[in-house]
C-alpha cells in the first residue's frame, strides 16, 4: 500500500477526497501507529482517495491549550490552518478525538473551517453504505466487548452512538460499564495529563477506569482514542489481565475483520 501526502497529490494537480489527520500519537507512539496503519488499511481496501500531510503536519496545539499555554496553541493553529488551507482541503478525518475536537470546534474561529469527521463515525458510515463488510461476523465473534467513551468524542461532542453502531456490526455481545455515555469516566490522559505525572491521590485515574472496564467481564475493551488506548492498556496491566483482556481501537477491530 502506498500512502500519498498532500504535496504529492498537489504536484499531480489532484485533490484527494479526504485529508487523514494522523495526529502526534498516531504518528510517533508505537502503539498508536498500529491504529494509524489499521485505519489506512481500511481506507485503502475500501478505495477512499485520501492523503496525509506527512512531514507538514504539526501538533494541533491541544495539549498546550488545555494546559493553559494559549500562545503556543495559537501558534500551532496558525501554522496548521495555513498549511491545510493552502491545499484547499474540504474534509478532514482523524483517529484522535482531541484533534477532532480542535478541528471541529476551535479551528473554525481561527479561519480553519472544514468538514471534520472522527474515524469511528467514518467507519460507521462505510459500514452503513455497505462498503465495509465484516467477514463471518468479524474476528471477535461471540466475544464480550465493552466500549469506553472518550471525553472529547462523547461529552465533548455528543458522539455516543456511531462507535457503538460499528461494534454492533460485529457478532459480539456489547456490555456497558456502569459509567458510560454522558456519564462516562475519563481515562486520565486529557487536559495535558498525558504529559505529566498525576497529582497525588489515592489511585490513578486510568487504574480506576480500567477496573470499571474489567468489572464488566469483557475480554475486549474498545476505544476510540490513542491516549485512552494507552491509559487503559496500562490499567489492564496493573491488574495483570493483559493476557486475557485486550484494549483495541475500533479501527483495529474493523481492520482485523475485513
Amino acid at each position: 500500500m502506498s500512502i500519498k501526502n498532500m504535496a504529492e497529490y498537489a504536484a499531480n494537480g489532484e485533490v484527494p477526497e479526504v485529508l487523514f489527520w494522523v495526529g502526534c500519537a498516531g504518528s510517533f507512539d508505537q502503539r498508536a501507529q498500529r491504529i494509524t496503519r489499521a485505519f489506512t488499511q481500511i481506507l485503502d481496501k475500501v478505495g477512499v482517495k485520501f492523503a496525509i500531510l506527512g512531514k507538514e503536519e504539526m501538533c494541533t496545539g491541544d495539549p498546550a491549550r488545555r494546559a493553559g499555554n494559549e500562545f503556543l496553541f495559537q501558534m500551532m493553529a496558525y501554522n496548521n490552518i495555513n498549511t491545510i488551507n493552502a491545499y484547499g482541503v474540504k474534509k478532514v478525518v482523524t483517529i484522535c478525538p482531541h484533534c477532532f475536537n480542535v478541528f471541529k470546534n476551535e479551528y473554525p474561529k481561527l479561519g480553519g473551517d472544514y468538514e471534520v469527521i472522527h474515524h469511528t463515525t467514518f467507519l460507521q458510515q462505510l459500514i452503513n453504505e455497505g462498503k465495509i463488510v465484516l467477514k463471518d461476523g468479524g474476528a471477535f465473534k461471540g466475544k464480550k466487548i465493552t466500549y469506553h467513551d472518550s471525553c472529547y468524542l462523547g461529552r465533548g461532542n455528543g458522539i455516543y452512538e456511531a462507535p457503538r453502531e460499528v461494534l454492533q456490526a460485529f457478532d459480539t455481545e456489547l456490555v456497558e460499564m456502569k459509567r458510560c455515555r454522558s456519564n462516562g469516566m475519563c481515562c486520565g490522559a486529557g487536559g495535558a495529563q498525558m504529559f505529566k505525572e498525576e497529582e497525588t491521590g489515592t489511585n490513578r485515574v486510568n487504574f480506576e477506569r480500567a477496573e470499571q472496564a474489567l468489572e464488566t467481564g469483557a475480554t475486549i475493551i474498545a476505544a476510540n482514542c490513542p491516549f485512552c488506548t494507552t491509559m487503559l492498556t496500562d490499567g489492564v496491566k496493573n491488574k495483570e489481565k493483559e493476557d486475557s483482556v485486550k484494549v483495541l481501537d475500533i479501527a483495529e477491530m474493523v481492520a482485523m475483520s475485513i
Binding site: I3, V22, C24, S27, F28, D29, T36, R37, I52, K55, E57, M58, C59, P63, A64, R65, R66, A67, G68, N69, E70, F71, L72, Q74, M75, A77, Y78, N101, K104, N105, E106, L110, C151, Y152, R155, G156, N157, G158, N183, M185, C186, G188, A189, G190, G191, A192, Q193, M194, F195, K196, E197, E198, E199, T200, G201, T202, N203, R204, V205, E208
Partner: protein
Amino acid sequence: MTFDAKASTFELKLACQMQIAQQILFMICAVAAIFFFTKKVKEMRRNILLGRDEDISDNKEQRWKNMILLALGQKKMFKKPIPALLHLVVYAGFIIINIEILEILLDGVTGAHRLFAPMLGSLYAFLVGFFEVLAVLVLVGCVVFYIRRNILKVKRLDMPELNGWPRNDANLILITEVVLMSLFIIMNVADLSLQQLGAEHYTKTDSFWISGSLTGMFSGMSVGTLVAIERTCWWLHIIGVLLFLNYLPYSKHLHIVLAFPNAYYAKLNPQGEAKNMKEIQNEVLYMMEPDKAPAEAAAPTSFGAKDIKDLSWKNLLDAYSCTECGRCTDACPANMTGKKLSPRKIMMDTRDRMEEVGKNINLNGEFKDDGKSLLHGYITTEELRACTTCQACVEACPVSIDPLDIIMQLRRNLIMEESSAPGEWNMMFGNIENNMAPWKFSPDDRDAWVNG
C-alpha cells in the same frame, strides 16, 4: 349604658386597636424585609458585574428552551431519579404554597382574615387543602433530605469542603422548611377549631384536607388559647418567610432563583470547545504577518484569570447559582481518585472570594487591594493541575454551571502570567515548539510509520 355594655365596647375598642397595631407591625416587617432583600440583590448584581464582559445574547430561542427544560423542568436532576423526585416535590410544593403567601400578605396589610375565602367559595377550601397536601409532601421531602445528609451520609453530601457553614446552611434550610410547613398546618388546625366554635373574625370555610382531620388535637381549648395559637403560628410563619427571603442571598438556597438565568445563559457550543482568546490570536497574527497589525495595537495586559474581576460575569453568576449538591465532584475523575480537585469547591471558592471582594467594596467605597486573590488564596495550583478537562462536572450540573471554564482561565494565568508549569509540561511545550509534537521526536520522522 350598663356595665356589661361598657365592657364590651371597651373590648371591641381594644380588639380594634390590637388589630391596627398588628397591621402596622406587619407592614413594618414586610417593608423592612423587602428593603433589605432589595439592597442585597443590588449588591449581588454589582458583584456579578465585577466580572469581565461576555456577550451572551445569541440564540434566544434555544436559551428559553434550556431555561424551561433545565431550570423549570429540572431535566438533569432526573439522572438520579430518587433525589430528583424528592427535589421536585419540595420545589413544586414550596413554589405553589407561595400562592398562599399572597393571601397572607394581603390579610396582614388589610387586617382581613382569609380575604379570598368569600370570593372563591368552595374552591377556597379545595385550594388550601391542596396546599396542605403539598406542605406535608415538602415536610416529608425535607425530612428525607435531612436523613440523607446527616444519617445516611450520602458521599457527595458529606465531603470535607462542606465542613462548617455549608453543612449548617444546608441543614438550616431543611429545618426552616419543616418548621414553616408545620406552622402553616398548625395555624389551619387552630383556625378550623375557631371556626367550629364560631369565633368572631374567623371566616367560615369548608374543612381543609389535612388540618380538618387534626382538629381533635385542640379540642376543649378556649377561644382565647386558640386565637393565641393561631396568631402565633400566623406571625411566626410570615416572619419566617420574610426572614428566609433575606437568608436566600447568603445561602446555597439562592439556586431556587438563579437556576433560571443560569440555565438561560448556559453554554450552547459543544462542551469540548475551549473559549478562544482573541487577544492572543491577534498577537500571533501580528507577529506572523506584521503588515496586518494596526498602528496602535495595544498589547494585552494580562492573560487568564487570577481573581474575580478577570472571570466573566457568567462565571460569577455560576458561583451564586451553585447549591453545592456535589454532582460535579461526584463525577470528577480526579476527585474520585483522591486528588485535591473538587469542581464544587472551585465554585464555592469563587463565590466566597466574590463576597469578600463585595464586602471590601461596601467598606471602602471601591475595591481596596487586600493582597489576596482567588488563585492561590482560595484555589491552589495542585487542584488546578489535577483537572483532565473531561467535562464530567459541566455535564453533571443540573443548573448549567461550568466549573471547567474557571479552571481553564486560572490555568492560563498560571502558565502565561506566572510561567508556573510542572517541568514535564515545560518539556512538552518545548517539544511542540521545536519538534511540532509533544514528544521529543524528529519532525522528519512524522510519517515514518508509513514504512513500519
